[in-house]
């Protein structure tokens, strides 16, 4: 179970203005501004739930994922993931979760994918028999057989994302955080990724929290949507709650963004 209660987080960033004069001025004096990434964010996600976490760029989605995966320490509030405080005992926590950052790769670029997997086996200290079993299952479900022997750099984006998903599930985590897992994928790959996530959830009861800009992801995967904008939770409900009549989901969400002025 995941609970966030009144979690807030703010950053300080240096302002930089355009122009020659400003550049010279900033040599001597620099202004900072505080950005509130999260303001009193609260929600609870039960075991085995699949939740879509949506919101415009810079709304605080990544900060939330980072806090939940133990990378970021919040300024205030309480965070509990299966009874653990993620940022307090990082190593014990991350053993139990899987994280995929859609824009980055965890696979080594120049060596066959299977070698990266073998390394993860040692990093997570996975026993040989569960490694074998998990790998077989993942290879099967994600259709990786042909890919495992090729170096990551030769894979297409869609193929790579399938491997990334497998990489973050080798240690069989109960919770999976997906940060934009379908970004940049072609239609076929998107379908494959969605199909896999659904199956994984069904077979293993894996809790899934995914951020995305692709509303079809939400439609295909999650019954529940959490909408965040300007660091605040604006809505927490089901797709049916917000859908009116015959609107497509994109129209629905666009209207939602507009109505909350985010």
């Amino acid at each position: 179970m995941i609970t966030m209660e009144n979690v807030s987080k703010s950053y300080k960033v240096a302002k930089r203005n355009a122009g020659f004069g400003e550049a010279v001025k900033s040599l001597f004096h620099r202004e900072y501004e505080t950005i509130h990434a999260l303001k009193n964010v609260s929600f609870t996600i039960g075991d085995g739930e699949m939740v879509g976490y949506i919101g415009p760029n810079g709304a605080g989605k990544s900060s939330t994922i980072k806090i939940l995966s133990g990378i970021l320490t919040p300024d205030g509030g309480t965070v509990l993931v299966d009874g653990r405080v993620p940022y307090k005992d990082r190593i014990r926590h991350v053993k139990e979760i899987g994280v995929v950052f859609g824009q980055r790769s965890q696979l080594w670029w120049d060596i066959p994918v299977i070698d990266s997997f073998e390394l993860l086996k040692d990093i997570y200290s996975i026993s040989p028999q569960s490694y074998k079993q998990n790998l077989e299952e993942l290879t099967d479900l994600l259709d990786l057989k042909e890919l495992l022997r090729s170096p990551t750099r030769q894979l297409s984006l869609g193929q790579r994302m399938r491997c990334e998903l497998a990489a973050s599930l080798l240690h069989d985590p109960k919770i999976l955080f997906l940060d934009e897992p379908t970004i940049g994928l072609d239609a076929v790959s998107k379908l494959a990724v969605r199909e896999f996530i659904r199956k994984r959830n069904k077979l293993h009861g894996t809790t899934v929290l995914l951020t995305t800009h692709d509303m079809q992801d939400i439609e295909a995967l999650s019954d529940r949507i959490i909408l965040i904008g300007k660091g605040e939770i604006l809505m927490d409900g089901t797709l049916d709650d917000i859908k009116k009549g015959n609107e497509t989901i994109d129209e629905t969400v666009a209207e939602l963004y507009r109505s909350f002025d985010v």
Binding site: F20, A23, V24, S26, L27
Partner: protein, 273 residues
Amino acid sequence: MKSGFTIRKYQSFFRLRFVMGLQYRAAALAGITTQFAWGFLAIMAFSAFYETDPAAFPMSFQDTVTYIWLQQAFLALFNTWMLENEIFDTISGGNIAYELCRPIRIYNMWIARSLANRFSRAVLRCLPILIVAFLVPAPYRMVLPPDVPTFLLFVLSAVLGTSVATAFCMIVYGLTFFTISPQGVRILFASLVDFLAGGIIPIPFMPDGVRRVMELLPFASMQNAPLRIFTGSLSAQETARMLGLQFFWLIALVLIGSSLCRVAERKACIQGG
């Protein structure tokens, strides 16, 4: 009209790089500290050599100190290892296709960029180093050129030196079109050229035979010429010879570089980047 327009294009590149360079004040401060420490250590080592055997010095200790301070202050102008990663990435990453789309010669654009980069760095960094170099206690203090004409000759030679160094870098960029290992080419060139230019040991300290050959190479036309001219202890004939060599190498390197880039452009067009 048309040429005015072209020049404005390069001016805007130049200004962009210049503003970018100014923004990185921490980098500038760090550079100044580094170069000051480097100069200080080099001077201390030379002073130890001077104590051991002053008679073996090829020029006065005073001139040596000035040479080293100037070298550190104007490092950004004369060095050949300050190549731009962005340009390498453009070539190896295939983004060169974009650059080829623009109505501009790659050679000219890169030279404008590199000069801007060098000047923006030098402007920020030279003054603090020079100020400190004029303030430190006597034997380690830098001295001014003896008269105004010497100083003007130094400025001329410095401009030529910067141009020779930039023109040389263009050739390195051009060569990376033809090799699969730009990083390897780069590091090979960097160490060899730095040595030949007098970056490790000032050229006057080389044994005579070696020195005579090195002074003829294009690398001596980068920093060695202006740094030697500055102190005013060269004869008029020697100064003239150095400036002449600088002119010669500038023309030669620009010709080589621009034709290399032209071949490379054609190659990139054919292969599709």
